[in-house]
Amino acid sequence: MAAVRLHQVRKVYDDGQAAVAGASFQIGDGELVALVGPSGCGKSTLLRMIAGLESITSGTLHIGDRLVNDVAPRDRDVAMVFQSYALYPHMSVRENLAFGLRLRGTDAASIDAQVRAAAATLELDELLERKPRALSGGQRQRVALGRALVRNPQVFLLDEPLSNLDAKLRLSMRAEIGRLHRRLRATMLYVTHDQIEAMTLGERIVVLNAGEIQQIDTPMNLYSEPANLFVAGFLGSPAMNFFRGRLTAAPRAQLQCEGAALPLPAAHIAVPALASVAGEVIVGLRPEDLAVAPPGTAGSGEFTIDATVESIEPVGNEIFLGVQFGGAARICRVPPQSLPEPGRPVRLCFTPGKLRYFDAASGVRLR
């Protein structure tokens, strides 16, 4: 296993379009890093550059201590799992697993042993003689994983490996990949557009948007301390509520939104970063940080807002409560309880410590 280091890696296509703009980060030896971003953000391009399938326009890429910018894919000692599995359709599972080993000149006895070991790990023993077309989606995905595993590469690259599976299978394969990583302690880069996959699997997450890295951190830090508006909005489901408006200090500290005001702690808006903002500010608050105010607090709560109930979506263990406030729809995640009917007013309270501030113009976090 080896670490992967990217320094200012850029990809500009012949037509001048920049797919990746100066990516710098490191995947530690044995670490699983998730690369997440919306479709077309450049994450697959970045992965393909690490694999050697796409040339690097500028910057450096090291695998271990070796500079691999101009090294052919087969000499990088990386294995990749593709979204479409990309199994060789005319070869049996056994041949699919053995193909890479055979090309590397491994002797027949070792090939057999390694194929058996990989098949045992992924419970493919029974399927070794089958052709890919006789396998289910989940089995095919396991063979694709096995093909990467069997070569014992320095780095595993996984390109949206679960997107072609149905929801239930995705869940179990996700757990399987997690287990596999813990067992092998392999260096892995996992590309996905699914933030849940990224959050659950990644030890650290790289958030990419429009070819630029937005933030790199652990899942919980990304969630609680997003560096900018994009990260705040991208991670979390339902997404963070954003209140857009201007800060006022008198008569009390608050955010003046469209037709409503969000009360804020005076200490918050006194920090230099916020006090110096001339234009609009966006205040973010996660759905679970908004609660229905207990009846006794009516009128007296300092950090409360009066909203109108719009929708109630019970999902069993909690309720997604949709409300209208300040000219926009907001979502609260509240425990099961009896709630006012849609169209009725509701008083919501929040903990001011959970508020996150962003510059409306640049999207940068203000703190």
Binding site: A51, V78, S84
Partner: protein, 286 residues
């Protein structure tokens, strides 16, 4: 009460099955019309000399003889022509599969400068009728010293625009990820072509192989032009000169025709499963 109901049901059954009967009937008729001349060719080839010239012409031989076949091979050197045809057609087929297969794959999947430009130029070449190119082609082969040699008959057919087009369209359906997976597995481009691409292209290669073999085997014009030596002639050319010498001997001609047609017919029957798969896949995936 029950009788009219059952008659009604019977009529409905007829109405339901009628389209099937019509289609099957039309297919049988078409098959009969196609097969009849071939079967009659076989039948006449087994008749004694001049038996087919009677009026009305007999459908089946009154007495079966293999004399014409014996004569064709013993005195008319048909074995030699058969071998010529076999050499020319199978070499052309093998070479065409190699060249068209590689070129079609390259045009579909490999990135190189000028790929689209060259491909468009080739497609434009499809518009030029083969007859127009015959004289310049002959001149070229003469310059290369290939006239009156097997190579002269084989070379013009080994890379065809149609063949490249056929393979390319099919190869477009190969997912890039499959090739990338092989690259990461450690395969070079040549290895990828051999171990991954060729097996995937198999149906279309069989189809192309049949096309080329049939076309070369049946070709009359080009071998006539390029193979002037009697010993070098292929079956269709030899058959034509045979018919000039034996205008009256229909039975001998039919035996020659049978020898010419039978191998390709058998080849087609043996491979038609793959052939159909290739055609269908091409048409669906476009």
């Amino acid at each position: 009460m029950s009788a009219p109901a059952s008659i009604d049901g019977w009529a409905r059954g007829i109405a339901r099955r009628a389209p099937g009967w019509l289609v099957n009937g039309a297919l049988w008729l078409g098959a009969a019309l196609t097969l009849f001349p071939l079967l009659w060719m076989l039948s006449v080839s087994l008749m004694p000399t001049a038996a087919a010239s009677n009026y009305p012409p007999p459908i089946l031989p009154a007495r079966i003889t293999l004399g014409h076949y014996r004569e064709l091979f013993a005195t008319q050197h048909l074995g030699r022509y058969f071998l010529n045809s076999l050499i020319v057609a199978s070499s052309a087929t093998l070479l065409a599969l190699v060249f068209n297969g590689m070129a079609g794959y390259a045009f579909a999947k490999l990135r190189f400068r000028g790929r689209e430009g060259i491909y468009r130029l080739l497609l434009a070449g499809l518009l030029v009728p083969a007859q127009v190119t015959m004289i310049p082609l002959f001149g070229l082969l003469k310059f290369m010293g290939l006239v009156n040699s097997y190579a002269g008959a084989i070379v013009p057919g080994v890379a065809s625009i149609f063949g490249i087009f056929l393979v390319r369209q099919y190869a477009l359906s190969i997912p890039d990820e499959l090739l990338d997976a092989a690259r990461l597995d450690g395969a070079g481009e040549w290895r990828i072509f051999r171990s991954v691409v060729v097996p995937v292209l198999a149906p279309i290669l069989v189809t192309l192989g049949i096309f080329v073999f049939l076309a070369t085997w049946n070709d009359f014009m080009w071998p006539l032009i390029v193979l002037s030596d009697r010993d070098m002639q292929t079956l269709p050319v030899a058959l034509a000169s045979l018919s000039r010498e034996h205008v009256q001997d229909s039975e001998l001609m039919m035996a020659g025709a049978t020898v010419t047609v039978l191998p390709v017919l058998l080849l087609f029957l043996a491979l038609q499963r793959f052939y159909l798969r290739g055609i269908m896949a091409g048409s669906v995936k476009g």
